[in-house]
């Protein structure tokens, strides 16, 4: 039995070049990596002023949201069995920003009352900033399957 012989055959792996490669790769990845999580809010474009499609019977129910410059949001519902347009005003918060929480509860109320409403069209005053529009669209999208933006 030559037990001592096994120690003489010990192989020492040279890890230095691997470490070098790893250092270069990690540095490259850290420099080029984007740590922002980008996502998207999907919307379709609807044409303002387009003639409504001619359909037999009642026109389909539609919802239109308008974001005002001061932060108020007007919700207008029309079509279906409604004889006249229903307008709901969601007042802005004290700092002139949109009251998104109230908007959500109003939209849920409307959808439970008229489940036929499946989409909403969003428009805004010319001075309303994109951030507020996206926030509103995102909230509407959590309730309505399809959201349009007016062009």
């Amino acid at each position: 039995m030559n037990v001592g012989g096994s120690s003489s055959q010990e192989v020492d792996l040279n890890l230095a070049p691997i470490i070098d490669c790893f250092t270069v790769l990690i540095t490259y990845l850290l420099v080029t990596a984007s740590f922002l999580t980008l996502a998207a809010v999907d919307v379709n474009v609807s044409e303002t002023g387009a003639a409504p499609a001619v359909t037999a019977g009642q026109p389909p129910m539609s919802m239109m949201l308008e974001i005002k410059a001061g932060g108020d949001i007007t919700i207008a519902v029309q079509g279906g069995t409604l004889t006249h347009e229903i307008d709901i005003n969601v007042k802005a918060l004290q700092n002139s920003s949109e009251n998104i929480e109230e908007l959500e509860s109003r939209l849920r109320e409307l959808q439970s009352k008229w489940p036929a409403i499946q989409d909403a069209s969003v428009t805004a005053d010319p001075t309303v900033i994109y951030k507020n529009i996206v926030e509103t669209i995102h909230k509407v999208q959590s309730i309505m399957p399809k959201v349009y933006i007016s062009s």
């Binding site: 999580t37 980008l38 996502a39 001075t127 996206v134 933006i149 062009s151």
Partner: protein, 158 residues
């Protein structure tokens, strides 16, 4: 001399880098995994602050990209139109809702698509301070050329 040689051998130090290699391996796997899912191709080329939204679920699909910032509108990574503090020049606002230059560019881009008139997606990256009037003009120009499915790019927050 022999004594000195022996002494030198005994003080030789070998750095134990196996654990370091392990750490590097874990780091590398983590970074590679994140790198694959990060959307580097849709990173904005111009300086703009994207709006933040909580829990946006949609992933950004590869498609024609338009960027709007305070000074310029960029289509497909090429600066197309100059803006003056988000406002279009008078020549671009005289023709209804759309901008003639942008409409031509979008129509040209549509012809360049592998299957023209099939893809209608447009990735919109706009600064969070952009007024609706500017967004509306860009959207109307894109819609005129058939890009009606918009993806508004946002930064997802927890």
């Amino acid at each position: 001399m022999k004594a000195i040689k022996k002494k030198r051998k005994s003080t030789e130090m070998s750095l134990q880098i196996t654990s370091m290699a392990d750490i590097f391996m874990i780091l590398l796997v983590f970074l590679l995994k994140n790198y694959a899912t990060s959307m580097t191709s849709i990173a904005p080329t111009t300086r703009l602050t994207l709006p933040e939204v909580m829990k946006a679920t949609e992933q950004v699909q590869e498609s024609l990209k338009v960027e709007i910032n305070r000074n310029v509108v960029v289509v497909d990574d090429k600066p197309i139109l100059s803006l003056n503090n988000f406002q279009f020049a008078a020549s671009e606002t005289s023709n209804g809702d759309a901008s003639p230059t942008l409409e031509n560019i979008f129509a040209h881009q549509r012809k360049l698509m592998p299957v023209p008139n099939l893809g209608s997606g447009l990735v919109v990256m706009a600064d969070q301070q952009t007024p609706y009037s500017t967004i509306k003009r860009v959207v109307a120009s894109a819609a005129g050329a058939g890009f009606v499915d918009l993806q508004l790019v946002v930064v997802e927050t927890e």
